[in-house]
Amino acid sequence: MDLSHSPEDLAFRDEVRAFIRDNLPSHIRAKVAAGQHLAKEDYVTWQKLLHGRGWMAPHWPVAWGGCDWTPVQRHIFDEELNFGNTPRIMPFGTKMLAPVLLQFGTEAQKRRYLPKILASEEWWCQGYSEPGAGSDLAGLKTRAERKGDRYVVTGQKTWTTLAQYADWMFVLVRTDPAAKKQEGISFILMDMRSKGVTVRPIRTIDGSQEINDVFLDGVEVPVENLVGEENKGWTCAKYLLGYERSGIAGIAYSKKMLEKLRKVAADETIGGRPLLEHPPFREKMARVEIELMALEYTNLRALANETKGVVPGPEPSILKVRGTEIQQAITELFVEAAGPYALPFLPEALEGGSNVESIGPEGAAAFAPHYLNWRKTSIYGGSNEIQKNIVSKILLRA
């Protein structure tokens, strides 16, 4: 047993760090550091730079452009991206669709879609949830009727993150309404520019617009865009969810946010002393820090098992549950650190590149919106309650 980084790992970290330092445009770095909203081109610019270095999708097979990295290297990469204030790599293509295509797609589909995901030439979004199918995803009603060489799709998807930027959407549709719930579902790929697709933004409690309703009104999709077998889409859907959960723990992200919180709390004062030294606040921070330290090793242990070929069991789910609990606890501490300056609502300060200053602590305009926005993390990707259902099934079966 050895918990230290090897010299090779340390050299790898320096290499990643140097790449970020030398390549990430400073205006993008500044927006991320300030917690401002990013434009599509900010994401794409950074992703193309990563692609140029061959680092866009490290977890993919090498033959398709992945990197042959150890779990520790993937962890280091994730940390450096977070600490370097880079835009997050969009997961819809790289982490959600790609594993499904690699497992269930045809060679033609892999060749058609994977390179464009890697090159950030096509932006994907996820057509899963519906107004009547949230946690009960298999209750989805969006209907796809086969007409010759096309499916005609009618229904509504919702909570679709960044659909406003998307070129494509992978969609779960019902192809056999007579079959039992899970059995009549198919997984298809839809061009967002198709006739009959309408995207309507949903404003969330933090004032931002990252999620959408997507209305589908007789949208025609060629049958070659079916992934896997017709009516077997639930297999793809579940496979994808397993991947969606991994990495959702946001460990490196939480570490970075704790560092930032420490700076804020060192600057704020209470009774003439730094808030950072105020026992009640300090204690709450320390508890989160310890829980995060534990989760970091829980994650590394899971990654080590994965490398040994152990099929992931409950690990992705517990990482999701505890990881999001920690993220949310940190967003709460930011609000507490801001004190009364959590109140001013300055959405214009959060626009990318805005020069509007926060009132109170530096960056405080983002603290409360971030707290509000981050309530989503225990709801999305399969709510934390659903994760516990999944884990309990595994535990009680054993």
């Binding site: 980084h5 090897s6 310890i290 829980t298 080590a304 884990v391």
Partner: protein, 370 residues
């Protein structure tokens, strides 16, 4: 970075698992705990034969040359079995003190007996007003003709009654020092008792106990670093033991949910109970991660670099242990309250661990100061 046990460590874990399964059933343990000494000399001999009693000592001193991870393997198994033999006081606490503070000659005199299972030791350090402050020592060692006279009272000394010798901390004019004292020496008196979790401890009074100059281990006035290190190593050990307890509780609770029926169905079909079981599992995995961190870091001779990981581990184990222990009792319903079921015994051990070597508040403060 590597989380795998070595082949030897895996063999050790396997043989201990067999021992616990075959020799340490709850009824046998109950009889042992109720006996005079509160542990089994026969088991202790088995530990000697397995090499456990020489685990942390150097090979050229008759030991195995093991490290914190080896101790973790042993203690996790002991946690599963709720082992009551005095491995923690003799091998972990006093073993580390001997490694850190004793001269080679002193070790040569003591270790063969320890390793052979013929000599038991206990660490007499805690005091009424010390709580978890390791530097709070009121017991005095007054210089006398050819040595010292020790006066004071030591509290909750684990394994004291069975020990052949005590390692006693006392304040000399130079500061804190460590002395080796025969448990049966004139002036040493014990008030022995059982602890809540079925182990044995004692209040130990030292009244004008005379020891020679050669009874001192390590530098006069400079014993604190060795004491701090021994307590950190013991902290890592009980973290691993707690993981063994929690693993056993999780499995027992899972089995209970799979068999107990109410309202015409297995109670494992109720979501409120399912989620409680998952909460236990998450806490166990978090605790396991930190027990590993503690095991790997506890061998570091530098107290300042040990403080953060060791205290973080003890805080995590304290939190996890409480959640897992309490929920296990809760999910067993009335049965969880009975002495008959093993669940309550694990819960008591976890509670004792939380109060040993610094509770969560103590370690949370130490973590923040580190």
């Amino acid at each position: 970075m590597d989380f795998a046990l070595s082949e030897q460590q895996q063999q050790l874990a396997d043989s201990l698992a067999r021992f616990i399964r075959d020799e340490y059933a709850i009824d046998a343990r109950r009889r042992t705990v109720a006996g005079d000494e509160g542990f089994s000399r026969a088991h202790w001999r088995t530990f000697a034969e397995l090499g456990l009693l020489g685990l942390p000592f150097a090979e050229d001193e008759g030991g195995i040359g093991g490290d914190g991870v080896d101790t973790m393997v042993v203690m996790e198994a002991f946690g599963r079995g709720l082992v009551v033999e005095p491995f923690l006081p003799t091998v972990v606490l006093c073993g580390t003190l001997l490694k850190r503070a004793a001269s080679r000659a002193q070790r040569a005199a003591l270790l063969p007996g320890v390793i052979a299972g013929e000599r038991l030791l206990a660490f007499a350090h805690g005091e009424r007003r010390a709580r978890y402050d390791l530097s709070h020592v009121e017991t005095r060692a007054t210089p006398a003709a050819d040595g010292f006279a020790i006066d004071g009272v030591k509290s909750v000394v684990l394994g004291a009654a069975a020990a052949d010798q005590l390692l006693v901390s006392a304040r000399t004019p130079a500061g804190i020092a460590l002395f080796l004292v025969d448990r049966a020496a004139p002036g040493v008196s014990l008030r022995p008792y059982q602890t809540i979790d079925g182990q044995r401890a004692a209040e130990v009074v030292f009244a004008g106990v005379k020891v020679g100059r050669d009874a001192m281990l390590g530098p006069d006035g400079g014993a604190l670093p060795a004491i701090e290190h021994a307590v950190d190593v013991a902290t890592a050990a009980v973290c691993a033991e707690a993981v063994g307890c929690m693993q056993a509780l999780l499995e027992a609770t899972r089995d209970y949910l799979n068999t107990r029926e109410q309202f015409g169905t297995r109670i494992g079909n109720f979501q409120a109970l399912q989620h409680a079981l998952v909460d236990m599992f998450i806490e166990l995995e978090q605790a396991r991660s930190m027990a590993i961190v503690a095991a790997v870091r506890c061998d570091d001779p530098d107290a300042t670099t040990r403080a953060r990981p060791l205290s973080a581990a003890k805080v995590q184990i304290g939190k996890s242990g409480r959640i897992v222990g309490q929920k296990a009792v809760q999910l067993h319903g009335g049965m969880g309250m009975t002495d008959e079921m093993k669940v309550g015994h694990y819960f008591k051990r976890l509670t004792a661990i939380e109060q040993s070597f610094g509770d969560s508040d103590h370690h949370l403060a130490r973590f923040q100061a580190a």
